[in-house]
């Protein structure tokens, strides 16, 4: 019975805290709150942030690398296309050059041959003319000599003889000139 009375006396006290316990509680909780909230959890937030950045940074880096690779690929493709058109252009040019050179050479050769032919013809013509001229004088003398011998008399009369020879040569020359043109 006494224990029940004692319990009831205590019973009031379970809801009325001793001041010293409250003080202990306040100090203890303040200490742990201070340490954890100052030295531990902010660093955790930093780590979380670093982790997010690491992941996002990784993705970003990968994206950047991808973009760079694409850019390089485009660049190479463009360069390749450039090189192809350049090669085609050079080929075309070379072909055109070759054709031009060929034409040039041909033209030159033709010109040369024409020139040579013309020179030959000129040469031939002057020689022929010279020959004709020489022949003309020689034939005159020869004919006069022969005629003098055959007739046996000197045709000393210069003026008569010259007229006779020239008439003779003109007679010979007329058909010869029409045939020589051919």
């Amino acid at each position: 019975m006494t224990s029940y009375i004692a319990a009831e006396e205590h019973g009031g006290s379970i809801l009325i805290p001793p001041v010293s316990e409250i003080i202990v509680g306040v100090v203890a909780f303040a200490v742990i709150l201070f340490v954890l909230a100052k030295f531990v959890f902010p660093r955790m937030e930093e780590t979380f942030k670093a982790r997010v950045e690491a992941i996002e940074g990784g993705i970003e880096r990968a994206n950047a690398a991808q973009a760079e690779a694409n850019e390089l690929l485009e660049q190479y493709k463009a360069q390749l296309a450039d090189a192809r058109t350049e090669a085609a252009r050079i080929r075309d040019e070379a072909r055109a050059d070759a054709e031009a050179i060929r034409q040039d050479v041909l033209a030159k050769a033709r010109e040369e041959s024409d020139r040579i032919i013309a020179a030959g013809q000129e040469n031939l013509r002057t020689q022929r003319e010279q020959l004709v001229r020489e022949l003309r004088s020689e034939i005159g003398t020869l004919a006069v000599d022969l005629a003098g011998r055959i007739v046996g008399e000197s045709l000393a009369d210069e003026a008569r003889s010259r007229g006779t020879v020239e008439r003779f040569i003109a007679e010979i020359d007329a058909p010869a000139a029409s045939g020589g043109r051919r």
Partner: protein
């Protein structure tokens, strides 16, 4: 009446005196500081020491890729930060209160856990002083946050005025809301935790000491019942594990809810 309930089956049935622990420093006997150094306060300091050492050691050199200890510490923080703070208070302000809420959570959890740790076998939170202390911290914090975030007048108005209710109901609602904000919130916070831990300890005492009493009983047929009683004590210990975790969670959750109503008046 024995001062030491540590002696098995000191008395049966257990009563409120089972929660009284004598001071460990005889010099303080009879002074107001007698209760400052007892098994209870020793366990509180032990909790503080264990948590501080654990977190500081686990986080002495944090890595982006965590070690096992760091991962556990981060998981505890992440659980409260993402599961309670961000979830209840919102992404914008939640992270700001995560350190306080996490500290609150681990401190209550470990102190509750002493209730079922062999040889400790008593939770400091079964002494109302500690739940009251924690409730006071929360109380001061959510008032301070509310006044800072909304201004004194606006905070009081948003706390007691039920927007949307018809004007003629307000004379009834305002006193109720006022009573709730000023007294009910901290009182229920403290009493819920205290009562759960108190009752839990009492139940374990009843089954454990009851078993001893049955074993010592003169009637032989009562002795097997003692085994049943101890079996129940084991079952109840497991049940206690559930309750004490839940209470730590509930205390933190409600604190977050009160902080949310301080930060965000639109509630």
């Amino acid at each position: 009446m024995s001062k030491s309930p540590n002696v098995l089956a000191a008395e049966f049935p257990p009563g409120v005196e089972s929660f009284d622990f004598g001071t460990l420093v005889p010099a303080l006997e009879g002074t107001m500081w007698a209760q400052a150094v007892t098994k209870i306060t020793l366990l509180v300091w032990l909790s503080v020491a264990i948590l501080i050492v654990f977190f500081l050691v686990a986080y002495r050199s944090p890595k982006v890729v965590p070690t096992k200890g760091q991962w556990i510490a981060e998981s505890v923080y992440g659980f409260v930060r993402d599961g309670i703070a961000k979830d209840i208070i919102g992404n914008k302000h939640g992270v700001r209160f995560a350190p306080y809420l996490t500290t609150l959570f681990v401190f209550i959890l470990l102190n509750n856990l002493w209730g079922i740790v062999p040889f400790a076998q008593i939770s400091p939170n079964s002494h109302i002083a500690f739940p009251i202390t924690l409730a006071l911290f929360t109380y001061v914090l959510y008032f301070a946050v509310g006044i800072k975030a909304q201004g004194l007048g606006h905070y009081i108005k948003s706390s007691i005025w039920v927007s949307g209710a018809p004007l003629w109901v307000q004379p009834i609602l305002v006193p109720i809301e006022l009573f709730q904000v000023l007294l009910l919130r901290p009182a229920t916070l403290a009493i819920r935790l205290f009562a759960n831990m108190f009752a839990g300890h009492m139940i374990l005492l009843v089954f454990t000491l009851g078993g001893v009493a049955l074993m010592n009983a003169d009637a032989v047929f009562l002795k097997p019942v003692a085994v049943l009683s101890w079996g129940m004590a084991i079952v109840m210990t497991l049940f206690e594990l559930f309750i004490l975790s839940l209470q730590a969670y509930v205390f933190t959750l409600l604190t977050a809810t009160y902080l949310q109503s301080s930060v965000d008046p639109a509630h």
